[in-house]
Symmetry: C2
Subunit: 202 residues, 2 copies
């Protein structure tokens, strides 16, 4: 039997550099990534099954009801989410996967796939977080308030994650190496290697 | 408050290369090591507190009774064991420690210090294990039998360990890097970093 792949979930508030870290991790180690489903219309150049799975609202809601979405959220009148089947299929084939999703989505995934390895990325410091939240200084106070609140809620949730990676001094390489160390250590965990014993004496 | 150090316990049967791996890990990362206590007499050149703490039989037994030994065993009429106080002192001072002990001792430590991180080192393959067990071909069948039985018992216990490192192709460097990845990942575990949240908004 093929050994199951590992599912990594990476979350982090604005300014954490999470996206750049995930990009670097994917350069250094083989990870499949999942294609999200959405009910919004494709933009020019967006391809079905590459950028998104484009589905109708009714279909999306049927998938939710059937438990076929690992996580989903509604945003400006459209659904966005992660279909469960492609993730399970990749994991069963022994592929590692990485999902870059917000805290709300991450906790939904953890509930459905408790074996998921949850990594929370922290911004270098509070100033960086605030800089990112304030943006280019053109945002309204309401938007800044909303972002600030989201960051606070996300930070409050971090102890539901297994690991905390701090993007110290904005050193993406260092943070990526942290994630790779977690990957290696998780691969070495005994419960993922029980088969070794049976093979050893045979 | 100083962050507590990590306690690593490394075990592995004959031929696992555990001793060499631990030596290499100590070259690459800072680990305190513990000095064992014994009731046997010092050999020429052995220094008190460096090679061993040399104690009388009665004193050793009193330490056992008082719960001051993390683990101990009797071997050819003498006690050998790991005193608890120096380990706890080093950990409280934020130092990481590594204990290279057999399975029997390791399980005693885990019971007293459940936060210990248990790493089991596997020999490259069964042939290597057997070669080491047979030694130079001069051992009696009884000794070979006894070693074989010990190796089997140790292998049976491996799922009480947190991580399995396989010394594949006798590649000590690779195995040492595995241990370092475990160290890094354990350091990043959320429960060891709860203080970050409080500091982040202050």
């Amino acid at each position: 039997m093929k050994k199951k792949g590992l599912l990594f979930i990476i979350s982090g508030p604005a300014g954490s550099g999470k996206g750049t870290i995930v990009k670097r991790v994917r350069e250094l180690a083989e990870f499949d990534f999942s294609v999200s489903a959405t009910t919004r219309s494709p933009r020019p150049g967006e391809l079905e099954g590459v950028h998104y799975f484009f589905v109708g609202k009714q279909e999306f809601e049927e998938k939710i009801a059937a438990g076929e979405m690992l996580e989903y959220a509604e945003y400006v009148g459209n659904y966005y989410g992660t279909p469960k089947k492609p993730v399970e299929k990749a994991l069963s084939a022994g592929k590692n996967m990485i999902l870059d999703i917000d805290v709300q989505g991450a906790l939904q995934v953890k509930e459905k796939l408790p074996e998921a390895i949850m990594v929370f990325v922290l911004p270098p410091d509070f100033a960086t977080l605030m800089r990112r939240i304030r943006g280019r200084g053109t945002e309204s106070p309401e938007i800044i308030d909303k972002r600030m609140q989201k960051a606070r809620v996300e930070l409050e949730c971090f102890d539901q994650y297994d690991y905390i990676v701090t993007n110290r001094d904005n050193d993406v390489e260092n943070a990526a190496q942290d994630v790779l160390a977690i990957l290696k250590a998780e691969t070495l965990k005994t419960f993922r290697n029980r088969d070794i014993k049976e093979h050893f004496f045979s």
